[in-house]
């Protein structure tokens, strides 16, 4: 039989029994749709996380006091035993490295913040003017902390949107006095509302110069230093420069931990990719189940069409031709099911995106290809047994069944 005739014959045979065909295609469609939607969900989550991290600044090296061996974020990095403090001078020294564009030291702590009789407790971050650029902060009003050098403990404060609302309400915040702990500040800028992200929620922050925060919290040490490299490719160089500079300043001891966003993002990326794969695997099981259904339905088809098979043999069809005809039918059904499944799956993914606009729920192309390939493979694979049974039928007995 010519391939075109084979396909046409299989198509006619398939459409000849719409219920059977429909059920089989449906089973395949559900399997493929499950693969598409679930991987879209998984990969969407992965992309969401990676994007969030990258929006925090992808060419950052984060310097933590104390030495840990872990590469990513974990309990270990939070509970490092500090051997020697990181100081503002250390931070200033890092600007000497040629791959470094800017740095932002961080001093953090909780303090009471009050203005005009309203009071709340807030997370206070001491830093420098470059923090706004390192962290890509947008201002709603006023300006960010001025560039006065690292050591000046001036009394400017920049507040987050929520703090502004709660302390000032409808009153103008710019220029207003603000009491933080036992010190007085003047509001110089208000951050734009950032909404919920994976990073810090900047809406509830109060930012002051690093030296002021150190004085407020009575410390000389820094919580972290953010180092921005000129470009992503320079990260490794900057890393080793930072390490060398700090080692030289700390009497030859490696007592800091360096994190890059890459490592953090990489960890999340890997975890979520593995999760997506696992979910795809589970969905693929439904494809295998669909394959078994295909086999059963095709076996029924062979029984139903025994007379026809006998006739085809009497008309000169070789066993191979009968086998190909049934395999072609199984393949066509799987293909049709897979096509419907893709349609359903992409619709489902689009619905997900409509319901969760933040989630880039697009099915990865590998999943689409794998879903299609699995459905075809199971359809044809499970079609082999019925096809062989059909090809082996005894023509006389088959004919005796009638059409």
């Amino acid at each position: 039989m010519k391939p075109f005739d084979l396909v046409r014959f299989a198509l006619q045979a398939a459409t000849g029994s719409p219920l059977r065909t429909g059920l089989m295609a449906l089973a395949m469609a559900i399997g493929v749709a499950a693969v598409v939607v679930l991987t879209a969900l998984g990969d969407g989550a992965r992309r969401y996380v990676v994007n969030e991290f990258n929006s925090l600044g992808s060419n950052l090296v984060i310097v933590l006091p104390g030495r840990t061996e872990t590469g990513g974020i974990g309990i270990g990095t939070l509970s490092t035993s500090t051997t020697r403090d990181l100081t503002l001078r250390d931070a200033a020294a890092l600007l000497r490295a040629d791959g470094v564009v800017r740095i932002a030291p961080l001093v953090v702590g909780d303090a009471e913040v009050s203005s005009g009789g309203r009071l709340r407790s807030s997370f206070v971050v001491g830093t420098t003017s470059d923090f706004a650029r390192v962290r890509r902060l947008e201002l709603a009003q006023g300006r960010f902390l001025p560039d006065e050098g690292l050591e000046r403990a001036s009394s400017w404060a920049v507040i987050g949107a929520t703090i502004r609302d709660e302390l000032f309400g409808a009153k103008p915040a710019l220029g207003a006095r603000l009491r933080i702990g036992d010190r007085r500040f003047r509001v110089i800028g208000v951050l734009a509302a950032s909404g919920q992200g994976l990073g810090m929620n900047t809406d509830e922050l109060v930012l002051v110069p690093a030296a002021s925060a150190q004085a407020m919290f009575d410390t000389n040490s820094l919580f972290r230093i953010l180092v921005e490299a000129r470009e992503r490719d320079a990260l490794d160089r900057v890393r080793s420069q930072v390490e060398d500079i700090l080692m030289a300043r700390h009497d030859g001891e490696r007592d800091v931990t360096l994190l890059t966003q890459d490592a953090v993002v990489g960890t999340f990326d890997r975890i979520l990719a593995a999760l997506t794969l696992a979910v795809a695997g589970i969905a693929a099981i439904s494809l295998a189940v669909a394959g078994i259904l295909v086999m059963n339905v095709m076996l029924v088809a062979v029984t139903q069409r025994t007379g026809e098979i006998g006739l085809l043999k009497a008309l000169g069809a070789a066993p191979g031709a009968i086998r190909s005809a049934f395999l072609a039918e199984a393949a066509l059904l799987s293909l049709a099911g897979a096509a419907i499944g893709l349609l359903l799956g992409f619709t489902g993914a689009a619905l997900l995106r409509a319901v969760f606009p933040e989630l880039p729920a697009y099915p990865p192309s590998w999943a689409v290809v794998a879903g299609l390939a699995t459905s075809l493979a199971t359809g044809v694979g499970f079609g082999v047994l019925p096809a062989r049974r059909a090809a082996r039928l005894d023509p006389v007995q088959a004919l005796a069944r009638g059409l």
Binding site: Q12, L315, G316, A317, A318, P319, L399, L403
Partner: protein
Amino acid sequence: MSQIELYEIDRIFEIGDSCVHALKSITLTIDAGEYLAVMGPSGSGKSTLLNILGLLDRPNHGRYRLEGHEVGALPPDQQARVRSERIGFVFQSFHLVPRLSAADNVALPMMLAGIPAGERRRRVADALAGVGLESRADHRPQQLSGGQRQRVAIARATIMRPAVLLADEPTGNLDRTTGTEVTELLEDLNRAGTTLIVVTHDPAMGERAHRCLQMEDGALRADRRR
């Protein structure tokens, strides 16, 4: 050398513990272009003989030579080829594929043989015209009368221009007039050179054949020529 040579053909069906000896040592030669009727009571083995001649069934013993080739011992693939190219079958209950049009039913053997679509269309049109059904090409079998169905089946059986045409009670499901028409159609084909072997219960049809085999209990009782 005869076209068909059967030598001591045995066909035994085993059902559970019992055996049915459907054909008992049949030896028979048939020449090209013969017109042969096979008659006999029900269960005498006529259909079994025809199935073996048509390579739809294998004998338990004996040899079958068709046009000088040992076809009885060929593997299934090659037997399929012999069926496709040398043998045409007409059945009592027509055996048309219900979902295919008359034209597609007639084209089926050519499609299975891999003949290109253009040539198929031409030959199907000729064949349907040959059986007087050119206007019914697009009809499904259930839209045709019994006589018309059998004529479609005959067009299908002869579309590959077989050397041997086997018909198992071709008029069994037809009334006398349509039966005679179908018989005349088959005889036309025989006059054009095809060997025609017809199983029939109808003595009138037996009379028309040039040679009549009488079977009984799996054996040949008589072999009369006219």
